[in-house]
């Protein structure tokens, strides 16, 4: 144990990477699943011990291969990314038992081990992005996670999944290219790729904010905004989420966009610092406007969507709007709201997409009309939907309310009264689109497909219920969510230490 402890940051990435390789060699889907389960359950243990380390003794630095930074690659874990690591790995671990039956039902027999291989690769990429302290290394992991994501989406049986994956491939590549251009510019100015090092070297240059730095900021912001699906760079997301296998959708919705948001936070607050990010370019104003647009337009689109999975995808876009809104507020309460919503949204969206996975497993459809009366046939599953849906709405007593509380306080502290009303008014749109599903599922007579449905087997039901209960739990006990988020926000705003 003692020998392993110092290498935890590396293991966080290496273990799923090896897992992906091994999984590709396996033939049987179930064996591959067992391997993926083992890896997924190990990850949060590593992440939790990293978080504990950071909480007790401050940020830790790990030098890959013993090469000292800034020449070697540094894995640097502070409160923010330890928190994200735990979130990503934790959600993945909770969801993993769900995968076996869901994937068996939705992915061709001979491709199942590939599915788990890609899943582990994606997990490795996402954790890698989060753990590394090297800007170019982020790009590498970004590509690893993106490429595996394209495959995950394309493994859906629906033919439209191929188009969706292709669409995402194009958009994702543009995003990655922009990111590399931005990093390249930064490298030209500072001669470094290490985030900490770049930040230090930018320090004196920040005063005049030379044009290349601002160009780098612009390229990086747009590139990452593509990955996190900031409105209006979101067009790839609804189809990708709608046609991917259910488990892949739930996993990606809960983790992939969240990690992209983490990168944005890093860039704004750790690399450039608030001085450059928000003072020389109207980044925060633009982002604020786009966030509000996302909150309203995406939610409106969700209201008119007949495919519930796509509806939730649009809802995700709106919810991402809340997170970026928190970032653009750039004060402690607002930023805390953004980070805590990143956490809360991951939990509740995972729950909602898993519910849809369970419905697909039982009736093979997520069209709203086919869900008529399904609440009476799958009561526990749909109860989870109601609870997680309330969290999306932001009802008090759920995790969603905590996020909105902080966001509203952040807006108040800036003196932006109208924004408070906008934040709360947009949650009324969520009432409509969640309410629409609840109405159909609970108050229509069961018919057609839903008639013979019943709650899914325990291995699927349990993750759904755990996540649903978590959305309530984190609405009351906010030590682990808002507590850490506010510390992380404080650290981000204090700048690079």
């Amino acid at each position: 144990m003692r020998a392993i402890m110092p290498h935890l940051p590396a293991l966080q990435v290496v273990v799923p990477l090896i897992g992906a390789l091994l999984s590709a060699l396996l033939r049987r889907g179930t064996t591959a699943w067992a391997l993926a389960l083992l890896v997924s359950w190990t990850m949060p243990l590593i992440a939790a011990s990293l978080l504990l380390q950071v909480l007790t003794s401050g940020p830790t630095s790990y030098h890959l291969g013993g090469w000292a930074p800034p020449w070697g690659i540094e894995y640097r874990v502070d409160l923010l990314n330890a928190f994200i690591l735990l979130l990503v790995s934790g959600v993945a671990a909770v969801m993993m038992p769900f995968a076996r039956r869901s994937v068996a039902a939705e992915v061709d027999q001979d491709k199942q081990s590939w599915f788990y291989s890609m899943y582990l690769l994606c997990l490795a990429g996402l954790l890698g992005i989060t753990v590394t302290g090297d800007a170019f290394n982020i790009f590498v992991f970004l590509e690893i996670s993106s490429l595996s994501t394209y495959v995950l989406i394309a493994l859906g049986r629906d033919r439209r999944a191929l188009v969706a994956a292709y669409q995402y491939l194009i958009m994702g590549t543009i995003g990655a290219t922009f990111y590399v251009i931005g990093i390249g510019l930064l490298y030209l100015v500072t001669g470094s790729l290490n985030i900490l090092d770049i930040a230090e070297r930018l320090g004196p240059a920040a005063a005049q904010s030379s044009r290349p730095i601002l160009a780098a900021l612009a390229f990086l912001t747009v590139g990452i905004s593509l990955k996190l699906a900031l409105f209006p760079l979101h067009v790839w997301l609804p189809n990708a989420y709608a046609y991917a296998p259910s488990f892949a959708t739930a996993f990606l919705a809960a983790t992939a966009t969240k990690v992209a948001i983490y990168v944005l936070l890093r860039l704004f607050f750790s690399v450039f610092g608030i001085a450059i990010s928000f003072e020389h370019l109207p980044v925060s104003e633009v982002m604020l406007a786009l966030s509000v647009a996302a909150m309203f337009i995406a939610s409106l689109l969700a209201i008119f969507e007949q495919n519930v999975k796509r509806m939730l995808a649009y809802s995700s876009l709106g919810q991402i709007g809340y997170i970026t809104l928190g970032i653009s507020l750039a004060n402690e309460a607002g930023l805390t709201g953004g980070i805590v919503h990143l956490f809360n949204h991951a939990v509740m969206k995972a729950a909602l997409f898993l519910v849809l996975g369970a419905i697909v497993f039982r009736i093979g459809s997520v069209k709203l009309a086919d869900l008529a009366g399904i609440g009476r046939r799958m009561p526990l599953t749909m109860a989870a939907f109601v609870i997680a849906g309330l969290a999306i709405i932001g009802a008090p007593g759920t995790a969603g309310f905590i996020s909105k509380w902080y966001l509203a306080v952040g807006a108040f502290q800036k003196g932006w009264w109208p924004l408070v009303f906008l934040i709360l008014a947009s949650s009324m749109l969520a009432v409509v689109y969640i309410g629409r599903v609840v109405e159909v599922a609970w108050f229509r007579e069961p018919s057609g497909l839903a008639e013979k449905a019943k709650d899914p087997p325990l291995s699927m039901l349990l993750p759904v219920l755990v996540l649903a209960i978590a959305t309530i739990y984190f609405g009351f006990d906010t030590q682990a969510s808002a507590g850490i988020a506010s510390q992380a926000a404080h650290a981000l705003l204090a700048g690079i230490k």
Binding site: I393, A408, V409, F412, V420, A425, V431, E439, E445, F476
Partner: protein
């Protein structure tokens, strides 16, 4: 009192019992009798608990229990003060009566999905207790929203197109007003005052301008949509598609009273009666409430559907409480509190009667009620008592509230409220008395018909007598309570008086 029944434990029990019942009821889904036993036991226990609490509260015991700070500013805490005690007492006692009635009603009408019905009912009661004992605005808000959410399935219970549409109105109006207006008001209060705790005399800082206070008050009054101040009243008539016991307890007592209770509490314990009076920030409220009282009565006059007529009457009566609070004298505020209790027992009686008529005679329209007093004498006698209570005539509890409100208004020479109350009393009589007259003293030819019908009772298939006994028992109990409250108003009066003591 003995050690295990310390009042603060009792307070938490009052909130916990309904939730515990909600958790237990689904377990007995397959055994309806046991399931109803759970509801009845919980209701009886809750009634016992709230009655045990009254004594200490009247003796001046004030309790609080700080549960947890969820995030800065969002503190979950409970406290007992007289107004909340009064509200809890009314809702808690009536739940028992209503449960007896519910069982009769739901079984006699063969309603579907009874398990979820009783679960939602229990959750709604728990939320009501939470509102009554909330120590601060945020706790109140939490349970306020829970009350909306838990009553939504009850409104949509029938699951037909009409019920679903009504459910939408209900949810969007209540959730919408509370999220978009009430929550910002709470935020503003927190940021201005540094706390959201209720404190007699108010918590807002002294330097707050009159305009800002008026704006904040408006956010509260319209944000608390449950009080059904026009134009936010549409949800209440829409909610009448729910089974009658729901309309009776929730949409005549728990939900709507939670609304006026919240407004009253905000006026007394966030703004402070004297501060509002001296700033003049509440003058507009007299007009808005007065308008609602009169307009709702006028609409009620034109309703043929009995439950709709009762619903508009409720809208009108709720604004009495707000009007009384807006008069801003201690006496009128006492009247407001009294009216909460008085209207509750009288209105629940009327709804019980409407449900009994529906169950026994399958009649829903006022125009169908000719001679019904001959067939259902007990029910219609109770209805008459409830109607007197609505009009505010002695010897019913309704008289007391009106008396206090009127004295408050005349003392301070506020003639608008006086005119409103007098006019609305006439209107109340105008839409309630005809029902009673129709039931007992129909036109001559109908009376002959009724006599004939009474003779040939078993030949007609449409013949009916009283509703099942649990329902009749319940409606008689509340009718008697309406009368008793007039003669022995000690408890509500004591609590109302104590409310204003700092």
């Amino acid at each position: 009192m003995s050690a295990p029944f310390e009042p603060d434990i009792l307070m938490l029990l009052a909130i916990g019992i309904p939730f515990a019942a909600a958790a237990l009821i689904p377990l007995f889904h397959c055994w309806p009798n046991l399931r109803e036993l759970v509801t009845l036991t919980a209701a009886a226990a809750l009634a016992a608990v709230v009655w045990c609490l009254v004594g200490p509260v009247l003796d001046g015991v004030r309790l609080e229990r700080h549960l947890m700070e969820i995030v800065p500013g969002f503190v979950l805490a409970f406290a007992i003060e007289p107004l909340g005690m009064l509200f809890a007492l009314v809702a808690g006692s009536l739940w028992l009566v209503n449960s007896i009635y519910s069982i009769g009603y739901m079984r006699a009408n063969g309603e579907p999905r009874q398990t979820s019905y009783y679960v939602c009912f229990a959750v709604a009661l728990g939320a009501t207790m939470g509102i009554a004992f909330a120590k601060n605005l945020v706790t109140l808000f939490l349970f306020y929203e829970l009350l909306t959410l838990s009553t939504y399935p009850l409104v949509v219970h029938k699951a037909n197109e009409e019920a679903i549409r009504a459910g939408r109105t209900y949810l969007v109006l209540l959730l919408g007003s509370s999220m978009v207006l009430l929550l910002p008001a709470i935020f503003a209060t927190w940021l201005l005052a540094g706390t959201t705790d209720f404190r007699a005399g108010g918590i807002l800082p002294a330097e707050l301008s009159g305009t800002l206070m008026a704006a904040l008050l408006a956010l509260y009054v319209f944000g608390i949509g449950k009080a059904a101040v026009m134009p936010l009243h549409f949800w209440l008539p829409a909610a009448m598609v729910a089974p009658t016991p729901v309309s009776a307890l929730l949409h005549a007592v728990a939900v709507v009273k939670a609304g006026v209770f919240s407004i009253l509490k905000v006026i007394v314990a966030v703004f402070g009666v004297e501060r509002l009076a001296s700033s003049g920030a509440a003058t507009w409220l007299v007009w808005v409430a007065g308008f609602t009282v009169i307009t709702a009565s006028l609409i009620a006059l034109r309703q043929d559907n009995l439950k709709k007529r009762l619903a508009y009457s409720t809208v009108s009566q709720l604004s009495y409480v707000i009007l009384a609070a807006a008069i801003l004298t201690p006496i009128s505020v006492i009247g407001a509190a009294l009216h909460i209790a008085a209207h509750a027992v009288a209105k629940i009686t009327l709804f019980f009667c409407a449900g009994a008529i529906y169950t026994a005679a399958h009649k829903t329209e006022v125009s169908e009620l000719d001679c019904i007093g001959y067939r259902m004498p007990w029910t219609m006698a109770a209805f008459a008592v409830g109607a007197l209570g609505m009009i505010g005539l002695p010897p019913t509890a309704g008289f007391l509230g009106k008396w206090f409100i009127l004295s408050g208004a005349t003392q301070t020479d506020q003639w608008v409220p006086v005119a409103v109350i007098i006019l609305s009393t006439v209107l109340n009589a105008g839409y309630f008395l005809p029902i009673v007259v129709r039931a007992f003293f129909p036109a001559a030819e109908l009376r002959a018909h009724a006599a004939g019908a009474a003779v040939a009772r078993h030949t007609h298939e449409a013949e009916h007598g009283e509703a099942p006994w649990p329902m009749v028992l319940a409606l008689l109990a509340t009718a008697v309570a309406t009368l008793v409250l007039f003669f022995v108003p000690d408890i509500p009066l004591g609590l109302s008086n104590a409310m204003l003591v700092r």
